[in-house]
Symmetry: C2
């Protein structure tokens, strides 16, 4: 078994990516990103390069590169010669995020519907079923994850890598907001009714309907979040 590792490339081509050596810069970027998205580091919290370097056991330069990467995703902000901080998200930010997301998902749903094939149908149906099952079990934690997975799968099925890149940036900021404010609490009872039309249209290859349903769903979700912020302060 161990000896077979040498032949991994020929016998298990899927695991080839695992062999690729990951520079510490990338590892540090991922670790820091997870710390932020998981809510360990709250929005507005100060970050010092030296402390992070110590925590991750790498050099300050490496941490610096990672911070610069995350600043491009608007997860951290830099005040020159002063310091880094986890990004904060106000009402204007939420409006920007959800209007932009509605546009990206509208395109993704249309493209996914137009390019749909048997493999894509099986994959999308599988993710949908897992999401709906979690909703019926009222398993909030799993449902929230599955919700993200479903939307992300649609974007992946669009076949547009740049669209996926930009969508992931938006998704990260939503996760940052949710995990820092405990504002998740989706209405699981209506989640199935809200997502079914989107998935059905994509599975049926109806790009126009998929685009409309998707855009509308994200916009109404955005209004729900904004209303919640306005109410809770």
């Amino acid at each position: 078994m161990i000896g077979s590792l040498e032949f991994k490339e020929s016998t298990h081509p899927m695991s080839l990516t695992a062999l690729k050596r990951q520079p510490a810069e990338q590892l540090a970027t991922e670790a820091l990103k997870e710390s932020i998205l998981a809510g360990d580091l709250k929005p507005g919290e100060r970050l010092t390069e030296a402390a992070l370097a110590d925590q991750f056991a790498v050099s300050r330069g490496t941490v610096r590169t990672a911070l610069h990467q995350l600043s491009r995703d608007r997860l951290v902000v830099l005040t020159p010669y002063t310091g880094w901080a986890v990004a904060t998200i106000d009402r204007q930010d939420l409006w920007e995020i959800y209007t932009l997301r509605s546009s990206l998902e509208r395109l993704a749903a249309r493209l996914a519907a137009e390019r749909m094939n048997d493999d894509g149908r099986a994959r999308l149906a599988g993710v949908r079923d897992a999401f709906f099952a979690a909703c019926e079990r009222a398993d909030v934690a799993v449902a929230v994850d599955s919700d993200f997975s479903l939307h992300r799968t649609i974007v992946e099925l669009s076949g547009n890598r740049r669209l996926l890149d930009q969508y992931l940036m938006v998704e990260q900021q939503i996760r940052l907001f949710i995990n820092s404010t405990y504002a998740s609490a989706p209405n699981l009872s209506v989640a199935i009714a809200h997502h079914s039309p989107i998935v059905d249209a994509i599975l049926a290859g109806d790009g126009e309907a998929a685009a409309g349903h998707s855009e509308h769903h994200v916009l109404s979700e955005g209004e729900r979040v904004l209303a919640m912020v306005d109410h809770a302060g």
Copy 2:
């Protein structure tokens, strides 16, 4: 004349923004970006950190940070432990870029129309007039720049900073493609007819019409570029 350069800052208070100290990292990023977008560095061309550091008279670490920034914009690509190269753009890339752009501009046009006010109207009309004038003069160089300015202005008027960020990424990649393949040559005779409906709808505050015209314009432009690539090889 030369001596007056020293007093630029005090005699021209408008250049206060120029007083803001720009870290060399940012200067290097901008300079490198311009070299790529201007076509001095062609797609696929190898970039070595040491050579760039020597050229810009900064350290390798600074150049490295700049390269990482540009890699997030897909202007350069890094092969670990091997080297950097200016990004190449193939047919799939062009499809991704123009479908994504159509979606972003669709949203921008709608938002710009919905938020339109007197200041915005004056600004948009001014940019439009400059563009149309260049078209009538058959001034290709100015027309190409004005074309970008017009589209960018609409996105800026949307009031969505994240939308602007993502649009600028797409715009940069289009400039990279155009300036490296001399594929500009827009049809100036129809440019006015193609852009008028978009601008008119935005000025009139008709978001739905602006969105439709904008999306359609970019998609047809994308098809034109793809056809040109297929024909010219």
